[in-house]
Amino acid sequence: MEKKFEKFTFGKRLDSMLNVDFRRMFTIPFFYIMVGISLVVPILILVMTTMMDGSVTVDPNGNETIMQGFDFVWQILGSVSSSGQDSSAMMSMDLVSMCNINMMYFAVAVLVCVFVSDDFRSGYSKNLFTVRANKTDYVISKTLVTFVGGAMMILAFVIGALIGGKISGLSFEMQGFNWANLLACVISKMILVSIFVAIFLVMSVIAKQRLWLSILLSLGVGMFLFNIAPMVSPLDANALHVILSLAGGTLFCVGLGAVSNLILKKTSLV
């Protein structure tokens, strides 16, 4: 006689997995440290670059370098794509262009890698995957939860930028964009987190308990895509940029989510 088992439906599984992952993320100090760092970093950047603005350094050969800080606060969040004059958050290699919100995607890599790697390092994955023959709910849940975490870090950075701007006395002037554009820019940047989360998740499930490897792989592979963030989310962003980010995010999450799923299915979980 066949034994009857209660149906563990996809909805029920996903619901419980999300419950566990959100509970975990919001109870680990590491998450709050990352959010705290995201809040403090823009304050430090804005205050320090404003203090050093215009200072001259001379190297042993006698060459002079003039430090150039931000002209206005919003530069730390992005650049105006249409003007072509300012490229602080684009791809040039000066200090101002390197120290901006796009750094947060590196920080998100650390969050995702630590969060996933903890499952394997603690051995929790054994309990988890024994009762979860299907790995899809794990991938979806991890993507969603770390996306929320990453988006919160972006938001913390924006808040930090506002505080930093106030402290440093930089201008909040908007040149070539308005509040709606700025909102679209921030939303696009938050949505773009999903693209990176999907990449970092693949790297994390490849590396499993080897945290160092997952971070290394994530930063290495992510490096190729970090440049898309300023292009897809300029300061003068509009609804189209938001939709573009959303489409890209969905595409990456589904595609790379399937890859993560396959890796979990085909490889050893301990």
Partner: protein
Amino acid sequence: MNAIEIRNLTKNFGDKQALKGLNMTVPMGSVYGFIGENGSGKSTTEKIICGLIHPSGGSVKLYGKDYTDVDVRAKVGVLIESPGCFPNYSVWNNLMLQAKNLSIENPADEIRKVLTLVRMEGAAGNKYKNCSLGMKQRIGIAMALLGNPELLVLDEPINGLDADGMRIMREVLLDIARSGRTVVVSSHILGELEKVATHYGIVRNGKMIKEMTAEELNLSCRTFVALKTLDMQKTKNLLGVRYSRVEEDEQGYLRVYDAKNAEEIVSYLYSLGLIVIEIKTDKIGLEEYYIDLMKEKGVN
């Protein structure tokens, strides 16, 4: 119906073949003692049953369904190597995570229930990392018991425990066995396993070499006569002429394996002028049976 049915299971790790066509049958409601030396394939088999590693070949069925079946696997509890707990979480929070993971409706009640079963009621608030090895093993069992699993897979739950920890663990395992669940438990401490198991599977070099019930083990375990005389060496030499297997055991007794009864030996020795000062009949235990079986198979 059997809880686990494994047929021709193979697993390769690169060039190394860990499982070589292993067959295993675990009846429902049994406590299955899974025995074998290090590297024989016990843990690999258990990890495959739990879906943690993938077999290279063969079939694994749990309650008649493939081992990847979502609904069946939701009813498997596991303790493999060490409990999967977050070190900085309390015992309660670790159990709560697994309870949420299993969508248990009244998680607090269920956690209290399993903590009582593993004698850990007072330790719920302790941080996991501050727990002793024995406590950690019991937390692992508590975690495996959450969600009222039909099948429990426990890998070496007794190893490394002190005498008191072993006693508590034995009581816990007996309680679990009484609850009617199917339990697969592997251990090197065969004396302890013997107290709880109803079925045995002995694995060697990735193959099942013997499967039997506790009754069958009892029947196949040879009886022996253990005795002491004032001149043990002379007694051993004399008995060695008449009986094919005479050995001295750790307690200083001479064991005669193929004697019909104790009286026969006493009168034989008396006729040779030797006085028996102590004599008893006994049966070899699981551990000795296992050692004998391994000797038969050419393992020292």
